[in-house]
Symmetry: C2
Subunit: 101 residues, 2 copies
Amino acid sequence: MVRVVVDVMPKPEILDPQGKAVAGALARLGVEGVASVRQGKRFEIEVEVAEGASVDERTAEVERMAATLLANPVIEDYRVSVLADAAGRTHGTDGTDGTDA
Amino acid sequence: MVRVVVDVMPKPEILDPQGKAVAGALARLGVEGVASVRQGKRFEIEVEVAEGASVDERTAEVERMAATLLANPVIEDYRVSVLADAAGRTHGTDGTDGTDA
């Protein structure tokens, strides 16, 4: 079993009403020095790694899930990373198309 | 300016209907070997670091924001980490109470 994390964030150029609402709330609570807040989703997916299959293969499958189901590539960027698998290795692929500030 | 990330996830013992819905959708799409899916929120907060203030002080402030506004400590765990600040250092504090599986 390996736990793969998919972080999905709105693209920088996309308006983020949720993030703006949080930033407004922080200001009303007297928190200073917050320039911006962006809010996205985080998925932690536990996937089985069958005999003979590799963590990288399963990570690539999660990458496809992220691109097709978990994120809307038109308005969102996603980032796939493996929390340390059984062998303690971490892996990561980056689904941004280079527009991430 | 430093970008601090706050990841907020439902506590392991709490029912996660959103995660279950995603797991069901993956199964219907024919994706196999997904044991579980948990869905949470990810905040990316840009905070100014005034002259004489330290990144750690600002991170501690974001930690307080996380505990009071961004997460509901009764049903959620949170994790605060700094995306590499200007000096390339990363920091991290962990708002879990040790029950994270």
